[in-house]
């Protein structure tokens, strides 16, 4: 019954707006179907991920030996573009891709509230991304992804393109945030009360609120930077009464919430995966949902912990330190609730579950190093060292990227209608897990020993550890290959997936794989919570008579 899934393509009077995909060509159009847009997000952002990964391997190649191989400008520009791509073009939009694909299905809607706005959000991403990457070729920006002035006021034209690109990407994420909030607020199926909302949707609510409040501040700061670069206006130039620290405040007012924008949806995805593969109701549903909102609120009051050594007012460090430590509480609430969820469950170690458990462990390490970094005396010691690099990769790669991989496997059968290869999935997980830890675990030590980040050369005594990290980095790069091959081959020729291979209770599994153009044959009516595993009742909503009959009634 999945044959009819992609057959409806409507051509509007305008000619270029389409809804639904009948052939692969429709994925290259301005398409208003949230599922098509979701796939567009996955493919585009994963391509950017591969580019960013290749740049990372060049960085690790440079760091094999202490002296500089590349010119320092090239090296600086490598980590600038690597960071920008991974953050603005992979993790943030990839999470939005899952939001796009899953939110309407999970709430039993036929699409997002504003399908055309949704398509616009997507198409801004390749435009913004190519703008940033074009900058790499016409005059390398090398001020890092944080673009601190005065470095970001230096001549290379690539810096200007970087600013324009990030403004475009910010606009995309802002439009997406409004769309998600309206969709979740107003388009839920009958009976889907807030207390029955899947936790991923709760995560998208808190993420979207953060994007809504934080992104405009970054846009304003970027516009000021642009005006200073292009017209010579004075905001950040000390000689004319400007203040470079103001950039850091405005930038981190956005970018600290942005780290939660990058990880909260991942936490939501993990909250969906753990109960399914433990066959247990999620432990502490309300606490997990509420802790997302708490993180969203506290996350706005901690940005100064990025600036402990910047020369800002010293007494400000104390509230920022305390706030940053407090945010570990709602995060800890989540971790313990996830542990409670899998505790005593009938754990099935399929690939999505492996990645979700990997997330749990790796993110916890990143969270703990985060608390040490929030402590002012420790932070002063390790600022701008590899300790920070280790920390941010444990939360961003060990956290967000593991969650994204878990979700890509979990929803692969739903999205493509075919099953991936489990054995290759597991090989991918272990290569990824070992490569990741080999790369980033030694960096803690390097940082504590004082090796500075963002420098092409380093002291000879760090060589052995750097070589271990580089080998790990290449392994991590290679680990993307089994995933790519598995995904492409399974998508083309994998065995057909049943509608609900994981026997999940959330709504997206109660329709066909892949879902029909308008998602559900009849509007589902939700009668109980999304994670009632093992309590002997049926799926949360009955989508269609056939789907209901095919779905098992929990074990």
């Amino acid at each position: 019954m999945s044959d009819n899934a992609h057959t409806e393509t409507t051509h509007s009077a305008a000619g270029f707006v389409r809804h639904g995909a009948a052939s692969w060509r429709d994925y290259f159009t301005f398409n208003t179907d949230h599922k098509v847009i979701g796939i567009q997000y996955f493919v585009t952002t994963f391509t950017f991920f591969l580019v960013g990964g290749l740049l990372a391997m060049l960085i690790r190649y440079e760091l094999l030996t202490p002296p500089a191989e590349f010119s320092t400008t090239t090296y600086n520009s490598l980590f600038t573009i690597h960071g920008s791509i991974m953050i603005f073009l992979w993790v943030i939009p990839a999470m939005a891709g899952f939001g796009n694909y899953l939110v309407p299905l999970m709430i039993g809607a036929d699409d997002m509230a504003y399908p055309r706005l949704n398509a616009t959000s997507f198409w801004l991403i390749p435009i913004g991304g190519l703008t940033i990457i074009a900058g790499y070729f016409v005059g390398q920006s090398n001020s890092g992804w944080t673009a601190y002035p005065p470095l970001s006021l230096q001549p290379p034209v690539g810096q200007t393109l970087w600013i324009v690109g990030v403004i475009i990407l910010g606009t995309s994420s802002l439009l997406g945030a409004i769309n998600f909030l309206v969709t979740i607020a107003l388009m839920r199926a009958p009976g889907l009360t807030p207390g029955r909302l899947p936790l991923f949707c709760w995560a998208m609510v808190s993420t979207s609120l953060m994007a809504l409040f934080a992104t405009p501040v970054l846009t304003a700061a970027l516009i000021m930077l642009l005006l200073e670069r292009l017209l010579g206006m004075n905001f950040f130039n000390v000689n004319e009464g400007g203040d470079p620290l103001m950039w850091q405040h405005l930038f981190w007012f956005y970018s600290h919430p942005a780290v939660y924008i990058m990880v909260l949806p991942g936490m939501g995805l993990v909250s969906e995966i753990l109960p399914v593969f433990s066959r247990k109701p999620v432990f502490g549903y309300k606490a997990i949902a509420a802790s997302s909102m708490a993180i969203a609120i506290i996350g706005f009051a901690v940005w100064g912990h990025h600036m402990f050594t910047s020369g800002m007012n010293p007494w400000l460090r104390i509230p920022f330190m305390l706030g940053s430590m407090v945010i570990a509480v709602p995060t800890g609430v989540k971790i313990f609730n996830w542990l409670g969820t899998i505790w005593g469950g009938k754990i099935d170690l399929k690939t999505p579950m492996l990645f979700a458990l990997g997330f749990l462990g790796m993110f916890t390490i990143g969270g703990l190093s985060g608390v040490t970094l929030a402590s002012v005396p420790v932070d002063i010691h390790v600022t701008d060292t590899y300790y920070v690099v280790a920390h941010l990769h444990y939360v961003l790669f060990g956290g967000s990227v593991f969650a994204l991989y878990a979700a890509l496997y979990m929803w692969f059968p739903k999205i493509t209608g075919r099953m991936y290869n489990e054995a290759w999935g597991k090989i991918h997980f272990w290569l990824n897990f070992v490569g990741f830890n080999l790369t980033f675990l030694p960096m803690h030590w390097l940082g504590l020993q004082g090796m500075p980040r963002r420098v092409a050369e380093y002291a000879p005594q760090f060589q052995t550890v750097n070589q271990i990290a580089s080998i790990g980095g290449f392994l991590l790069g290679i680990s993307a290959l089994p995933f790519l091959v598995n995904a492409l081959v399974s998508w083309a020729r994998g065995p057909k997936a049943v509608d609900n291979p994981w026997r999940s209770l959330t709504l997206e599994w109660q329709t066909t794989s892949p879902p029909p153009v308008h998602n559900f044959a009849v509007t589902p009516v939700v009668t109980h919570g999304p994670y009632d595993y093992g309590v002997g009742i049926a799926p949360t909503g009955v989508a269609a008579p056939a789907a209901a009959a095919a779905a098992p009634a929990g074990d």
Binding site: M1, N4, T7, I107, G108, A109, D110, A113, Y114, L174, A177, I178, L181, V182, A185, L186, M187, R188, A189, L212, F213, A214, T215, P216, V217, T219, A220, A221, I223, M224, L227, E228, L231, G232, M233, N234, F235, E240, G241, G242, D243, M246, L250, F253, T512, P516, V517, H518, N519, F520, A521, V522, T523, P524, A544, P545, A546
Partner: protein, 187 residues
């Protein structure tokens, strides 16, 4: 059992609620953007007043914009009663006041005692008024579209969301100016 034999399921939210919620969310993000510029002003100028700005002109600009909010509100009230002619007249009046504001702003820019590149005073003043002016310009274009549609009789007492959205946007831009006037001219 095939899905296409059944009518596709559509969740239809209350359109009015959906539109208003989206617009208010947009205003939230705009408030953060305009608000961050106010903080920049206090950070770079300090709490004191910049004496050189033309107080009379500032007051005139504010008066024009407040008046335009009045005509806009009246236009919305008139279309709510089904008075299409009155609606068009007041939309036109709002449009003219909006243009007048932009002309006044242009005059202010031409006669300001400092250029945009002169110190942080120029930077902050021209960026804040420029950002707001760009929004007024957007509002004037919006008003022009509403005027054309009004002349073609597209709005009625029951259905005039376009006009209502335009009014909400115009009032929002107005309120922003009230704050900008205070922090740029008065403090």
């Amino acid at each position: 059992m095939t899905a296409h034999t059944l009518a596709p399921a559509r969740t239809a939210p209350d359109e009015g609620l959906k539109r208003r919620l989206s617009l208010w969310l947009f205003f939230v993000s705009e408030t953060m953007m305009f608000g961050s510029l106010i903080l920049v002003r206090f950070h770079l100028w300090g709490p004191g007043r910049v004496a050189h700005l033309d107080q009379v002109l500032g007051l005139d600009l504010t008066t024009i914009l407040l008046l335009s909010s009045g005509t806009m509100a009246h236009a919305e009230a008139l279309i709510g009663k089904g008075d299409r002619k009155g609606f068009v007249r007041y939309i036109a009046a709002t449009l003219i006041l909006g243009l007048l504001f932009l002309v006044g702003l242009g005059y202010e820019w031409a006669h300001a005692p400092f250029g945009p590149t002169q110190g942080v005073f120029g930077a902050v003043f021209f960026t804040m008024t420029g950002m707001h002016g760009a929004h007024v310009l957007g509002g004037v274009i919006f008003l022009f579209i509403v005027l054309l549609r009004g002349l073609r009789g597209r709005y009625s007492a029951e259905s005039h969301w376009g006009a209502e959205a335009c009014a909400m946007y115009w009032h929002f831009v107005d309120v922003v100016w009230v704050f900008y006037y205070m922090v740029l001219y008065l403090l």
